[in-house]
Symmetry: C2
Subunit: 457 residues, 2 copies
Amino acid sequence: MFDKETYAIRRKKLTEKIQHGLIILSGNYTTPFNYASNTFPFRQDSTFLYYIGIDEPGLIALLDTDNGEEYLCGEEPCPDDIIWTGATPTLAQFADMSGINKTINYNQLQMIISKACNKGRKIHFVAPYQAQVSITIGNLLSQHVEKLKSIQSSDLIHAIAEMRKIKEPQEIAEIERAVRTTAIMEQFVIDAATDPACHESENSIRAALFRIFLKEGFFYSFPPIVTTHGEIFHQPFASKERLQKGKILLADIGAESGSHYAGDMTRSVPVGGKFSPKQKEVYNIVLEAQKTVLEVAKPGETWLNVHLAAARIITEGLKEIGIMTGGTDDIINEGAYAMFFPHGIGHLLGLDVHDMENLGEDNFGYSETIKRSHQFGLCNLRYALELKENMTLTNEPGIYFIPYLMQKWKAERRFADFINYDKALKYSDFGGIRIEDDIVITPTGCHILGMEVKKEF
Amino acid sequence: MFDKETYAIRRKKLTEKIQHGLIILSGNYTTPFNYASNTFPFRQDSTFLYYIGIDEPGLIALLDTDNGEEYLCGEEPCPDDIIWTGATPTLAQFADMSGINKTINYNQLQMIISKACNKGRKIHFVAPYQAQVSITIGNLLSQHVEKLKSIQSSDLIHAIAEMRKIKEPQEIAEIERAVRTTAIMEQFVIDAATDPACHESENSIRAALFRIFLKEGFFYSFPPIVTTHGEIFHQPFASKERLQKGKILLADIGAESGSHYAGDMTRSVPVGGKFSPKQKEVYNIVLEAQKTVLEVAKPGETWLNVHLAAARIITEGLKEIGIMTGGTDDIINEGAYAMFFPHGIGHLLGLDVHDMENLGEDNFGYSETIKRSHQFGLCNLRYALELKENMTLTNEPGIYFIPYLMQKWKAERRFADFINYDKALKYSDFGGIRIEDDIVITPTGCHILGMEVKKEF
């Protein structure tokens, strides 16, 4: 947690932007595993962390934008809880950590909200993603949970996103801590997989990563992906078979710092230590695309243009090795490159690994002038607007050979002028390569966060 | 997953017990971490696993007890999902794995249920513990989520519990696998903590345990407790400080097998390798209580009596070292021993570590003749009824010195005739000792599951 001034200042800025009505900031609940009292680790809502900072379940903050009053709503701990879970602060002590001086219980909160509703005051909230929060907010507003999305406050979403997308120095320091632990995890993957005598499996490497981030007192920012099937983007499965020499092991992993800032890195590593010439060719294209991002990304440039600059490098590289053919501009404009690079060049990074995804990417990542593309691949770009100083993002180009997609598009003769399917299908057992670092936008460009992790094999 | 016959037979038994109406068995959903698509590992509902076996989110089974028809309800995978998560079976393929031959979507399910409701047929379901399941069941039955508990089917709960509480041989084999991995984890704790040059912390040992169970492709059955504050039962915190020689490290940990059966063991270990004479005295009482359970537990005996037999050993032991005084029968009857042993002697173990806790312990652990005690401590006994062959339980006596409780009771002069507070308070920095193994009830007694893990230090 930062000092209480930080949260008070952030809340002041937020209420000034909203001007009228009440703001509900709901924290998360613990979620049951297989019965109510056996739970997953608690993860606080990121917006609640940003404005309130208290890392405890079952809390709701209420901000009155008209008179500046702030309330923290929750249950008081029961004295005998000390036997089961040790001593915990009182609600007032928690509130004080965040610079809030009024505490209320759920019934009091309900009364304040009812009164405000009766007076026709606007109640601002963000539609919850956690079902228990939906139930609570639905009850507070006397609305069916499935209606909440349609009555959430677009003003509140924009105000939150505008603040959260530019990071404070103390936030960048926290992201850097998360990235540093992520780098240690990647280094473990590299050492294990490049060992010519490697006896590890995808699963055993993945298991070892948990030890690394948990030892720091950290968690993961997303479930670690450790796979020789890099062409499956969110591969949920990690094989217990011994890694096969000659394969490419892709590890897309992220630690989350104790204060819940995310790291997110990917390395694609030759099992046994050396890429084949065929692998190396593709790898070098991805590496060049990644370097291009570092050159292009700077304040004033749009992230969409950065994406397209990387797509250009990938296109030209694939043309050079004979997998694509035709005019680079046409390939880019029509989106044919997305067969091999079907995701965005990167995303905002912060308290969430896909920062603020729950607020709706279109609400902060696109605008009236830059609208989300309908093109396959480019439609997955999570942020497209201008870069500004102190934004933090991932830089993660990739090239993948997805047998399902190659066969389907070939059958449809899709982009037959641009894609050499006979050549591409020879890469059907290639897998995929992605190289990912985290960057911060500086006054004149950008730089990589955390420490350098080997990228040349 | 077991073979499909297993599930078909179990469902047939269940529907025969229920006789009339529809049974809804709802599977779980994945639960979000910090936004909808960033989720905790999926954990299927245990009752769904028992009768259906399919380890996938978002499924509902419907059993018609009148005509024997069985339906699996879910969404078909979208073909392009293959790019993101790899190939997945179709709904019909999933259904077939469980021996179900009809698949329906959510709207069809809703229609079947509406029709049954209109005809006045009984709809049997268990009140959900997962909020998203509550929302779904609430919508299906047009009921507010908070009403579900009051209209759940007591018949269904009893029928399920009657079946799940006696384990099939293949279930016992799975529990044994989980216990075996749990034993490897405990052995790690013992080796780390008893090393005279120990550099580990509670947190670093806890982190290492994740590597062990994840490497097996297992998960935990509950969040591991690794603490030198054994007197805090569900200590959520693991210190990053180096372990202090002379402390007792309590590790209450459990692996969950790939098929989701739980292990649950505790060892209390001298940091540095040797107990002090004072620690050894208390430890030996707990060890004797644990051995007593092994002698007493057998078919026909109630688990309540087993608890009381262990309580007797603990009482006599504490009298011997001067912490308690007075008549053993009185101490037991009045519950004074619970100051130092404030939890039950053990609980049922199976697909849940506290098996079937979500069904309500009073529904299967107590009866008209054996009602839950209101006594401090004994009220925490999770199961009290007769033992039967092939029940699996934990055997976990403990002695704890809880400063908060000792000070409070002393001030209240509670049980002043039985507790020597001056002596007891000298143990204020002692912590707690618990020793836990998992047992199965045999035709003539019981035996410990898994492999023996060191208990003598």
